[in-house]
């Protein structure tokens, strides 16, 4: 083969590869095309959401929604990259902890004007709407809620009964510790508790601390996280590690502690309502386990926090009205009911609370009762701080493991964590609120 032919061949191959351009063209007809990024894209949740999308498309012909399922662990990275490149979609699912940072960057559309003129807005649970407004320094509404969740303790009712314990609905944290110690039985390879020492450890611990102290996260712009009573509380909790919890918990994430709980290794775990389906699938006897709210605080209140997840519109969308209309569809009573029944979580639409499944689900009834009880307070989880998640994962997470291993003291852990939170709040007040 001559040299010339080789040159031509190689050039042709390269040119062919480089010269191809996208040939998809936009529809020129009047249908509004929306792109919706789905974060809840696993085989259980995606079919429900996609059926809602299909139903929306079928119910009218002005708007067509295309959904794009993103793996949950990578979805935020994708969103961030899209924003940096100005290629974001119209609508997306969002998790509670992601919103504040996006609001800060003016990435989301403020929904107030459309919300205020939306007839069905009275169906929204007011507490959730105000939670979402807390995420913006100026109280704007940047997300419509779809579901809410709260931390619970999943516990083996049968193991407790064996120890003669039946008062778990009115436990204090002290009662909890005693129950854990009672349930531990090395001869049967039983541990009273399985704790989350790996990914997500900080978020759980954070909830526990304020559930115990009954205080707000910030008082006078300083965090109460590292108060002496909290230090003592965590020391008590960490003392369970290794003896009343498996050693492997040091790096345990959600999957590992659930495995411990559902296989009868551990008698309790702290997670949230969302893992209900895992437990229901694993246990033959539904009476063997239950969800109980976080125990009473040291001052007799039940200090809870609420996570809200929902839908948002990106500020750059060309069809804000259509996008908002789509959001209202996704959280209408019928869809919200199916969605929350799948999740096993608390709905955002008040009308769903009349549904049979809602009233028959024991774990939901327990939580709702706890939330509505007179001694319930809200701790003000600082999801409005853009760095909150990052502080928990990057600073607190490794430090928690060091404390469990005894490499640092609990006081050092909480001080480190508190410093980070105080700095973050300072910057937030200076740069964000102060604007």
């Amino acid at each position: 083969m001559s040299k010339f032919k080789v040159v031509v061949l190689m050039a042709a191959v390269l040119a062919f590869a480089l010269a191809f351009t996208a040939c998809g063209s936009d529809d020129e007809d009047d249908v509004i095309h929306l792109t919706y990024w789905v974060i809840n894209s696993d085989p259980l949740r995606l079919p429900v959401l996609s059926s809602h999308v299909h139903a929306f498309n079928a119910s009218q012909d002005r708007i067509f929604v295309e959904y794009v399922p993103l793996p949950q662990d990578d979805a935020l990275n994708r969103i961030n990259m899209a924003l940096s490149a100005n290629e974001e979609p119209d609508v997306t699912d969002l998790m509670h902890g992601w919103v504040a940072n996006l609001v800060l960057r003016d990435a989301l559309l403020q929904l107030d004007s459309r919300y205020d003129s939306w007839n069905a807005r009275t169906e929204m649970v007011p507490a959730l709407i105000s939670e979402i407004r807390n995420l913006d320094a100026h109280g704007g509404l940047y997300m419509l809620p779809a579901t809410s969740n709260t931390h619970t303790i999943w516990v083996r009712t049968d193991w407790l009964a064996e120890q003669g314990i039946t008062n778990q609905a009115t436990w204090t944290w002290d009662d909890f510790f005693h129950a854990v110690e009672a349930m531990t039985d090395p001869s049967q390879v039983r541990f009273g508790h399985t704790l989350r020492g790996g990914p997500g450890s900080a978020a759980t611990l954070f909830e526990m601390i304020f559930s115990y102290s009954g205080e707000n996260v910030f008082e006078n712009n300083v965090t109460t996280l590292n108060s002496p009573h909290n230090v003592a509380f965590i020391e008590r909790y960490f003392a369970l590690f290794g003896e009343h919890t498996p050693e492997g918990d040091l790096v345990a994430g959600h999957m590992e502690i659930t495995a411990n709980f559902t296989t009868g290794i551990a008698g309790s775990m702290i997670h949230n309502l969302g893992s209900y389906q895992n437990h229901a699938d694993a246990f033959d006897d539904y009476n063997a386990f239950e969800a109980i709210p976080m125990p009473l605080s040291r001052i007799g209140t039940r200090n809870l926090s609420t996570s809200v997840h929902g839908y948002s519109v990106f500020a750059s969308t060309e069809h804000p009205d259509a996008a908002f209309e789509f959001l209202t569809w996704m959280i209408n009573a019928e869809n919200n009911s199916e969605w929350n029944e799948t999740l096993g979580q608390l709905p955002s639409n008040i009308r769903v609370m009349e549904e049979a499944w809602f009233n028959e689900a024991e774990h939901i009834a327990t939580m709702t009762a706890a939330i509505n009880a007179p001694n319930a307070t809200s701790n003000g989880l600082p999801q409005f701080l853009p760095e909150f998640a990052s502080i928990n994962n990057t600073i607190a997470g490794p430090a928690i493991q060091e404390a469990l291993l005894g490499q640092i003291t609990v006081q050092e852990l909480l001080d480190l964590w508190a410093d980070a939170l105080n700095n973050a709040l300072d910057e937030y007040l200076t740069h964000v609120v102060g604007q």
Binding site: K3, R105, E247, D249, G253, A259, T394, Q401, L404, Q407
Partner: protein, 306 residues
């Protein structure tokens, strides 16, 4: 202008044409790398000198050498992660090389089911990384994992070992998963390379009465030298930058005991959205690898064989 050396093999008068041919041959690589990678790499170096943090946009702006000062003077995580990276790379590459070599030598001999065994050897490399991490994580689980179940049944251990939590076991456990995955690379590469070793040389040695080890060390190994050097270099760089397996097995824990430098970079730049500091770390990592590559190639007296 340095004089261009003529190829000794193909005679004089050809070197001009040969230069043209050489550049023509490497043109596709140069074009692709220049078009697609030059700007992204330069971008990283640019941001290494900036404060760029999506979580704290008010602090964005030129940083001068601030990031680098922080890395070398104040950042304790950096030093620790560098050490973990070093251990990781040394363990991974050396074990993968040794096992890969053994397997390649074995597969070079004729035996029944050789084709089947070759195919089986390939699959740890071929299977999805997401699954690999999840499988090994499941198998290592302290109470529900199959490793402990088998070891307990066989009486080799007495208690359930927390393979991924116990500081004594976590690194070897994660390393085993990584080695399992990387062996096929060396096995296939060395096997392919063994095919060009001419059998006459071995036969000549047989006549001289050489035994197997002598044949291996004096004939096989030198022939493989260049390929092994290159493969080891590439694999070292690769393992240095490998994040997924460790991340999914331990999340970098416990207490950062398995956090490599690259994991630290990705956590900082992507998860924490601190692209400025992350880029500075990446630039440092880049230079570490570059210096290593230069020293490695020089020390192995590469390109000066025969």
């Amino acid at each position: 202008m340095k004089p261009v050396k003529k190829s000794r093999a193909l005679g004089k008068g050809l070197f001009e044409r040969e230069n043209f041919l050489a550049y023509l041959f490497i043109a596709p690589a140069i074009i692709l790398i220049t078009v697609f990678l030059f700007y992204p790499v330069a971008n990283v170096f640019y941001y290494a000198f900036q404060h760029q943090n999506l979580m704290r946009p008010w602090a964005d702006g030129p940083a001068g050498f601030d990031n680098f000062v922080h890395i070398f003077i104040e950042d304790t995580v950096f030093v620790g992660s560098l050490w973990v990276s070093l251990q990781w790379v040394v363990v991974q590459v050396s074990f993968q090389l040794v096992f890969g070599m053994i397997i390649a030598l074995m597969l070079n001999k004729a035996f029944k089911f050789r084709g089947l065994v070759r195919t089986i050897m390939f699959y740890p490399w071929a299977i999805s990384g997401v699954l690999t991490a999840m499988m090994w994580s499941m198998m290592y689980h302290q109470h529900v994992g199959v490793f402990n179940a088998i070891l307990l049944d066989l009486g080799i251990i007495q208690t359930h070992i927390a393979w991924l939590a116990n500081m004594s076991f976590v690194f070897p456990s994660v390393a085993a998963a990584g080695i399992w995955r990387g062996i096929p690379f060396f096995a296939i590469m060395i096997l392919a390379r063994l095919q060009t070793v001419s059998p006459e040389i071995y036969e000549a040695c047989d006549v001289d009465g050489a035994n197997a080890f002598q044949k291996f060390f004096y004939i096989t190994l030198p022939h493989l030298k260049e390929a092994i050097i290159l493969a080891t270099l590439l694999r070292t760089v690769w393992e240095f930058n490998a994040v997924d397996l460790i991340m999914n097995l331990t999340g970098g824990g416990p207490a950062r005991a398995t956090t490599t430098l690259t994991m630290y970079i990705v956590n900082t730049a992507v998860t924490d959205q601190n692209f400025g500091y992350g880029s500075a770390l990446a630039a440092v990592s880049f230079f570490i690898l570059l210096v290593f590559a230069m020293i490695y190639l020089k020390a192995s007296r590469f390109g000066k064989e025969d």
